[in-house]
Amino acid sequence: MKQLTKIKENRYFLEVFPFAILFLLLLVFGLGTGGRFFAKANLTGIFNQALITATATIGIAFIYTTGNLDISIGAVIALAATVGGKIYLATENVVIMILVTLLICLALMAWNSTLSVSLHIKTTTAAIVMMQIYKAIQESLVGAVDLAVPFAICSALEKSSFRIVTLLMYMILAIVIYNFTPFGRAIRFIGGNENCATQSGLRKSTYIRLSFLIAGVGVGLSAVYTIIRVGTITTSTAGSMGMDVMLATVLGGMSIFGGDRSKCYAGVLGAITVVVLNKGLLMMGVDNSLVQGIRGILFLLLVYLNSERPDVLPTRKQF
């Protein structure tokens, strides 16, 4: 038992554990499905299904790292996708649709950061209020008619290299900024000890604002991928994204309370883990009425094993 504790306390444990879990799940489901799990179509499916959440988590990691929590991104994606979809239907121009969607996300995330940085409203409070407003605006915009971008366009974009190229570009850029620039170090410092960082001369507000903007690009790409993936935008689009991102981040081995041990690729690992788990349970033939409960138990188990156990309760004031 002491050995186990020692292993868990090893500084590399949290780095390795999310990969080990993913590997273990792949192994279990691979064996359980007689190798069908590793079929090319399934692996493509895993990529497609994890893509939207994974892209958003890369961006949101910048916000989480600073110790802030924005749960409005589902509503941001839905609103941006709605406007993007409407723009496409009006112009029939994919480039304009993509640019408008990205710009809307950037603008909304910039507004969220303004509320918390310039107007001093706690990030979570601002996010909860804005989430409701964005959702209500989106509902009004969607209105009485389904908003559907033609499947042919979505399919063409899905099959093209657009998503993979943009994702790779964004991911590489994010990893470089996060790990190899003073900016990345600064936001980890702010997340680790805000007071100390401020007293060391770091301009917290500027860094937080920039974090929101970088996240805005990720959320914007997510919104574009959402249009490409689903085509039909409704009031339920991206409804659970805020929670999916949190869950993926934690499963990937990063705390949503941020800090110096954060990593921006954590959410990608987590998003893939969630998809693998969902697919695996379905392919193993788990009864649909039980699958949710089993998923809940597994999530808690993985998160439990995957996170540090503080001596006090892990809390963060949201208001």
């Binding site: 038992m1 186990l4 504790t5 069908r36 079929a39 179509a41 399934n42 499916g45 497609n48 299904q49 939207i52 969607v142 209105g143 009485a144 008619v145 389904d146 559907a148 499947f151 979505c154 399919s155 959402t226 993936r229 689903v230 085509g231 039909t232 409704t234 009031t235 339920s236 689009t237 991206a238 409804g239 659970s240 969902n278 697919k279 379905l282 392919m283 193993m284 033939g285 788990v286 009864d287 649909n288 039980l290 699958v291 949710q292 409960g293 089993i294 138990i297 597994l298 808690l300 188990l301 439990y304 094993l305």
Partner: protein
């Protein structure tokens, strides 16, 4: 640390129990076909009078075991009964295995399910989630799996897809027609009534709600010979509560919004408690959430409020239709219902024709069609008691194997497209009860 290990062990045990339980269930299903083929024949023989001709096609041996994905938008009682019917009655008799989805509340969830089901070996998707039909239909086409969806409204953009077998469900116009009958019953006395119409999601492009609300409005127009100042089409899709002004001064109040929204119920309650309305006709399923507030309004004014709603055959419908309000009338006066097995069974039969390579019977002109069954009107506890005799078990399933065999070309080689439509069109309540020997 011991506690932690214990917790992990418990969690794994629970997970293993879940997985093991499920695996054994599928194994049981896999072991079933040989024995159930005989059962299928027996069931067929017992209703031999209903089949058009005897054929030698045996699902157990003449085709591979098909896996079919069942997509559900929610897990309502109606859908749970469909799952039970399909998994326990249909699957063993037709050599198929069902992969059941969770509640698919978004387009992404549905597309993910379709992809996952296809990877799991599904050859077809039987969808009871009609919202994202366009994306789902195209996705199935892309993956090369057959698709049938419970939707009888427009599916024009996917009708020509090879793998789309068609839409199925209850005939919207028959629901509207039943609603019209209810309106005529309520307003036939030519007295001045106040009419409240919860239009639900008619304002959010829900075709069924829109058609039903339109039918009710038309019936009101006819009953009083009145003319609304605005077109009915415009009134029923209004996003705000609207008083439909008319030349006869009849109070007709349209209240939009989902019944799960507390503000909507409160708003309707406030309207009822003005005492102006004595007729409530929902464009969809409204009686469960409105029963309480209607009861209160009746008590407050000691007058009967007549209620009509689209219903779901369940305990709550039974209670509503059998409970007396304070005026001695029933809490729910009229309901439009549909048979659980008819909708699931017709969808299955349509999909099976596609899976067995007989799409021609579904698409005589190369375009997918809608296969519509009738809704039934129920005007009181007596009629409900009759309806409740149906779909209780294998012996009372309206859409039993004999019916399905008649709708699958492999077991009924003379089957034509017209015949499918006419068979469904014949499923009136009276005919179904008669076929089961449940009425005189």
């Amino acid at each position: 640390m011991k506690k932690r290990v214990l917790a992990i062990a418990m969690a794994f045990t629970m997970m293993a129990a879940g997985l093991t339980g499920c695996k054994s269930a599928s194994e049981e299903a896999a072991a079933e076909p040989t024995t159930t083929a005989a059962a299928s024949k027996t069931a067929g023989e017992s209703t031999a009078g209903q089949t058009t001709q005897s054929v030698s096609y045996d699902h157990a041996t003449d085709h591979e075991k098909f896996k079919i994905g069942l997509a559900f938008a929610d897990m309502s009682n109606e859908n749970l009964e469909r799952i039970d019917y399909l998994k326990n009655y249909i699957a063993p008799k037709y050599n198929v295995e069902f992969i059941v989805s969770e509640a698919l509340d978004s387009a992404e969830a549905e597309l993910n399910f379709i992809e996952n089901a296809q990877i799991s070996g599904a050859k077809g998707i039987l969808s009871f989630a009609p919202t994202y039909w366009e994306q789902a239909g195209n996705k199935c086409q892309e993956l090369g799996i057959y698709y049938a969806v419970q939707r009888t409204a427009d599916t024009k953009s996917i009708d020509e897809l090879e793998y789309f077998c068609g839409g199925f469900g209850s005939q919207q116009s028959s629901t509207a027609a039943q609603m019209k009958i209810a309106a005529e019953n309520f307003l036939g006395d030519k007295q001045k009534h106040g009419i409240l119409i919860p239009t639900l999601l008619a304002c959010k492009n829900n075709v069924a709600h829109r058609l039903n609300a339109t039918a009710i409005m038309e019936a009101v127009e006819e009953a009083y010979g009145l003319k609304f100042t605005k077109p009915i089409d415009e009134l029923v899709v209004s996003g705000e509560p609207t008083m439909a002004e008319n030349d006869k001064g009849i109070d007709v109040y349209l209240y939009p919004g989902e019944m799960k929204n507390e503000d909507v119920i409160t708003g309707i309650s406030a309207a009822l408690l003005t005492g102006k309305y004595d007729v409530v006709m929902g464009a969809g399923n409204t009686y469960t959430q409105l029963s309480q507030i209607i009861d209160e309004a009746e008590r407050a004014f000691n007058k009967n409020i007549m209620v009509a709603s689209v219903g779901e055959l369940s305990e709550s419908l039974h209670t509503a239709m059998n409970t007396d309000d304070c005026t001695g009338n029933k809490a729910l006066d009229f309901a439009v219902v549909k048979s659980t097995t008819v909708i699931a069974g017709e969808g299955f039969a349509i999909l099976m024709n596609g899976l067995l390579g007989d799409s021609d019977v579904l698409k005589p002109e190369g375009k997918a069609m809608k296969f519509e069954a009738l809704n039934w009107g129920c005007d009181g506890p007596k009629q409900l008691a009759e309806i409740e005799q149906l779909d209780q078990d294998e012996s009372t399933y309206v859409f039993n194997t004999a019916m399905i065999d008649k709708m699958i070309k492999k077991t009924n080689p003379n089957l034509t497209n017209e015949e499918i439509h006419s068979m469904l069109g014949d499923l009136t309540l009276y005919n179904c009860l008669k076929a089961m020997g449940l009425t005189q």
